[in-house]
Symmetry: C2
Subunit: 208 residues, 2 copies
DNA sequence: CTCCCTTGTTTGAACGCTCAATCAAGAGAT
DNA sequence: ATCTCTTGATTGAGCGTTCAAACAAGGGAG
């Protein structure tokens, strides 16, 4: 049960967010949400026309929460932009570790669960992925002078997201952090090589 | 049952494999499978005690089919072990492209759909991931002399799988190949840098 | 202060439908 | 005659959704 002080609509949304993350969308029944939120079906359908609209509202909430609830805490005390990228990945690692590799990224889970062409939901998932990648791209742009000249920071940001999602997927399946750690370590190695190459290029430009 | 078309059990398995890949496990009903396979519910339950056992059998079939149905065709005419890694990724790209980014890797889809602690199924998914990564590791081990000394090929193989799964996930969500291509391009760049570094190390060892 | 009417919210039983799973009966081959 | 496999109607639970009824709070009017 979620706290009873909050208005019903919010209680339902938080309950749904929690359950969708834990059990997925299809396997979470309306009854599950109602029990978790301490509400009745009529209340839910007073605020949301269908179950899908609950999902949409949850995704909106998640989109708006990326910065304040995820990035801000992960980046507290971390100034270096490249370190920030890996601090973000470390935050996901912590989530995995704290839940015995049960849940990693809710967006990823829901993304692969939706197979039907469900335009509004897919759109919302796209927006969530894009927001995440855009924040990472922001870091990379700040570190542009430490990356090889002409580095495609958008492409690299997508690659970071790819590494996170792929690593989470495998770690959840194996119920071990090994795959996630292996992926992040490889990504770190890649970044180290990019930074070294950038330095080498700079030296060459000014004449060794 | 001696001659004639495929036996019922196989028809059911192929139908289930197809539908699980297209629509996912939870959203595929027994009735869907029966219609696709042209069978009756009694027949299905004659061979498989529960729906979950159908899934397990499908995953077994998939595990056994990785080499003959995926790797062998992808590697035909490709001898270089590193090229083979990217030929495999190109095969997935083709699958995505041919289906308008609708389905990529069935294992990944099912892996994120299963949230409950479902030991036998998770075990089978683990085995599938491991088999895939082991084949990639085989390639990398063959190319060991072209990679930096001390390269952890298992870790790198996991990273390749991570890149594939993460890229597929995003491309399916955006219904665009961009994220997949961006991920593979980044991985390619990483490999190029590894190979260059290996050459540099070798030169240094023999004294430039 | 009291009465009525309105507006927004909550209640929980009920509905129609789909689902996974069952079962008794029968077909076909050996 | 036996064993394997098939048929398809049937079961009962659970699903998303609906609905009429109740409730709480407020604002004018008397």
């Amino acid at each position: 049960m979620v706290g009873g002080g909050e208005p019903t609509r919010e209680r339902i949304l938080f309950a749904a967010l929690k359950l969708f993350s834990e059990k997925g969308f299809n396997t979470t029944s309306i009854a599950d949400i109602l029990k978790e939120a301490g509400a009745n079906s009529g209340s839910l359908y007073h605020f949301f026309p269908t179950k899908q609209d609950v999902l949409l509202a949850v995704l909106e909430m998640y989109r708006d929460g990326i910065y304040p609830m995820l990035l801000a805490p992960a980046w507290e005390g971390v100034e270096d932009p490249i370190d920030r990228v890996f601090a973000l990945l470390a935050a996901y690692r912590r989530m995995l570790a704290d839940t015995d590799c049960l849940y990693g990224c809710p967006i990823g889970s829901i993304a692969l669960e939706l197979h039907e062409p469900d335009p509004p939901v897919r759109e919302m998932l796209s927006v969530n992925f894009d927001g995440w990648a855009r924040h990472v791209k922001g870091c990379l742009d700040q570190a542009r002078d430490r990356l090889p000249p002409g580095t495609d920071t958008k492409r690299l940001a997508i690659f970071v997201l790819t590494t996170m999602e792929g690593g989470v997927m495998q770690s959840r399946t194996h119920r071990t952090l090994e795959a996630f750690d292996a992926s992040i370590a490889s990504l770190r190695d890649y970044f180290d090589r990019l930074v070294v190459a950038a330095v080498a290029d700079a030296q060459q430009e000014t004449g060794t």
